[in-house]
Symmetry: C2
Subunit: 148 residues, 2 copies
DNA sequence: TGTCAATCGTTGATATGTCAATCATTCTGT
DNA sequence: ACAGAATGATTGACATATCAACGATTGACA
């Protein structure tokens, strides 16, 4: 069980979240909020739809996290220029500094996580993670076609 | 950003959950419930405390998931023999078959995830995941000591 | 023995993620 | 131009994870 990749990924992901939690709470952010302001800092203002698509989460979750972020003064919602359905989410100055602090925290976490990894191993690790994700994403249920 | 390990792990973990979701819902289980019955099937009856410790989640979460699992007929809670605080959680027959189906689903997912991986690559991948987790778990914030 | 600390399970509050449904707006096809 | 489909954002409902607090029980120690 401990050897199944399901558990291995669970453990690694869990440890990563636990490692980043002190930084996150120090910034006054909820569990899912850092990734939103990080994306906004890198890509500039965008719609809620774009945030939901990028992170593959429900637009409802984005909506509520932005409610909280807006109340905290990290982002503002503006009206879109062309389409009155689509608004634009933008970082405030406070949001920008929080995103910078978060990026530092992520680099710190990464350094800690990769201790003892050679540069080649780290690159291989990243490659494995990308391939695993791609394999899981593509076909819906490619199993039991041939034999089984 | 797409290259940071934070995002890479997020993507892989996310894809894995999405891949396993149809099987999970087919069994009538909530998102966190499969791991509990899987553990119970492998390790036999145990306390709620043990489940919480093993998966590193709050005992409150375990308590509520077991409420749901018990209502669904997957597990039963019995009184402990020695300590009247500590109960014992046990799989029912329905819980046992669900756990077997879940283990099949996990093997299937793993096959799909590792498509194109050689046996050596898969072993290396598992090793990287274990090392990353251990690195994140041990020291709290050992960074920026030497030179950054 | 008697008091205090620690432990197990539980409940409440809050945040996230999924699903379903709704409202307003925009697009499509005729 | 108009009816219906599609889209963006929102809200409600449910399950989960974290934090805080509580009741019951057990253990430790004077």
């Amino acid at each position: 069980m401990e050897n199944g990749f399901h558990m291995l990924l669970y453990r690694a992901f869990h440890a990563q979240r636990a490692c980043l939690r002190p930084w996150r709470t120090g910034l006054g952010l909820g569990p899912g909020q850092p990734k939103l302001i990080d994306y906004l800092a890198r890509s500039g203002p965008c719609s809620q739809r774009q945030l939901a698509s990028y992170f593959e989460i429900d637009p409802a979750a984005v909506c509520r996290m932005l409610d909280s972020l807006e109340k905290g003064g990290f982002v503002v919602r503006r009206a879109g220029p062309n389409d009155r359905r689509t608004g634009v989410v933008e970082l405030t100055d406070k949001g920008r500094s929080a995103s910078q602090a978060w990026q530092s925290a992520c680099r710190e976490m990464e350094r800690q996580m990769l201790r003892g990894f050679s540069a080649q191993e780290a690159a291989q690790f990243a490659d494995y993670l990308r391939r695993a994700r791609e394999n899981l994403r593509g076909p819906k249920a490619p199993a039991r076609e041939g034999m089984l």
